[in-house]
Symmetry: D3
Subunit: 130 residues, 6 copies
């Protein structure tokens, strides 16, 4: 396990990101993901900026839908940390038990049909190529 960098011991460049996290989320709590990747400050800066861009910038998809997509990927990859943190985030944005159940049912079925397509080596229909 990599050391968690606490706010008090952080360098100035790390602290600047922590300050932004705290201000954006309106809480002093900084979760372990950020406190760990802070061991490589440029990764911290880039990851935080990337997540702000894709999860918060104006766009077609609403914030909850973005979280559900994030969970779909994390479940497919089996990333325990990401499943836990983004499930919590999705609940904060309004995900209820029924939505979570529907989400996982779709993720599970897609993983199933992905392998049927692989296994039978199904050729892509011409009409799907355009």
């Amino acid at each position: 396990m990599t050391k968690l960098i606490e706010y008090e011991e952080a360098s100035d460049e790390v602290r600047a990101v922590y300050d932004d996290i705290r201000a954006t989320r309106q809480t002093d709590y900084i979760n372990n993901f950020w406190k760990t990747i802070a061991n490589h400050p440029t990764t911290l800066q880039r990851s935080w900026q990337t997540l702000q861009d894709i999860m918060k910038s104006p766009g077609e998809l609403d914030p909850l839908m973005r979280e559900l997509i994030y969970i779909a990927v994390s479940v497919t990859n089996g990333c325990e940390y990401c499943i836990a943190s983004h499930t919590a985030a999705a609940r904060n944005k309004g995900m209820n038990d029924a939505m979570f159940g529907e989400l996982l049912a779709i993720v599970a079925a897609a993983n199933m049909t992905n392998r049927l397509a692989n296994g039978y080596q199904i050729p892509v229909d011409e009409q799907f190529k355009t």
Copy 2:
């Protein structure tokens, strides 16, 4: 490549599913996925029923959102057929270029942070466990 089972040569049990696909989709066209898995009729029946259930049954998530989740999984797994067919389906349900771009940006970023969490072996925060 596995043989595609055409409607005319299909057994009665396969034809029953094909009839349901045609009626549901209001088109005679049956895409290669179904024509291939028809080589194992129980897989055809179960897969069609499963997809109807998860993609069409009443629920919290709207049809377009369900397709986006399907694409997120298929892209993560690199399933060419599923990406092509579900991208087409999503466009039919209203996905525009901006939505597709946002979707892939989220999928890409989630795959990135999933590996940061793996690589640093980040412990799950207590507050995410409840």
Copy 3:
């Protein structure tokens, strides 16, 4: 694409493996997998020896069953070459259409339940740990 090393141009150490492949399989045909990895002779030697060991050595699992397991992995990983070559090998060892259909149905379902277990973060039962 990496160059295919033909028998006639192969070095002595590569040719020794090719000779063994031909003798073992009772055919002059050497498939592209071996002709490609021959670009790194120690990989060729080790891979051929490993496959002989796991697929042909005396053991509890019969040769067809071993091929089905190989396909299950290759389908899950989406490896086109490996699916094609091991499906051909399995057919040579007696796999019929029904078996292939059953195999893929199991592979598909396992990929489905794997993600339900991930997504719900299901704790392992005590009785499964012993």
Copy 4:
């Protein structure tokens, strides 16, 4: 972690599946997989029905072989719960230590050659395409 639904607190539709699990397996014990996915009753019903179909319906592959295939997929995906539960199931159906060792050796080797095929971008032989 998602709440485990115990029999006593289950809804009628969940209890019907639990009753079928108990009758089929001749034990009152219901493992955590079912008690968790019971949070989404249609997922519970469909998953139980699917597993009955693919693992128990008459066919070419014997029950133990089906479990080994299930394990091969779960190991490739790194699904801890599924490895634990299906290894236990396979042992109940006769898997001994030697079989398990052979199984994992094949799974490991297939994952190895899958990446050699990917990395060298090996073209599929014409004879494997028919």
Copy 5:
């Protein structure tokens, strides 16, 4: 397949990235990756910036080593485009056939032992945790 955005038809913000790619690489050629993700300009900008940061910024790892790591990931994921493009990039930076052979042998072996560790559910040694 998504439309490729050519320089001549690109918006100003896309063209600015294209100009930077051309200047950095000392060539007018822009490969399909950039011409495709240009359909979502913020993804283009962020991805180009990210790759510049991780592949070109001063650091401990030399440019060739960074490419080999990139290939290792792409081969494990089976991403055909990324394998092709980063293998070409690595060759431009000095990768010879022997290095490529060694790289793939390591990637293959790691994928093998990863599954042995999964399958046997091997507990992490205390000394590896600190």
Copy 6:
């Protein structure tokens, strides 16, 4: 969890490998990976021999670089044991915090762009095919 085979109870063929591990590493400590796969002695022998070949044989890549490649694969696959053991090995061979940070940043970015290439189904440039 599979039983760990201790030196004292090991068969002669397992003990021979353990002796080689101890002599090679100049320590009596044998980590859990080997003590577990010793349950299938041919897997133990082959895996140890393979790792010696790919990690220690003379070649173009230095020992530390080989470890970094090993970690890149293990992180992409999410193999906890392998990440922990090879991170420890890499540190013994000189990996410092900055290198580890750079490594993970590259692994993360490669996983990101792999999915952009998948999702947009980007055609491989002709110049990358030769």
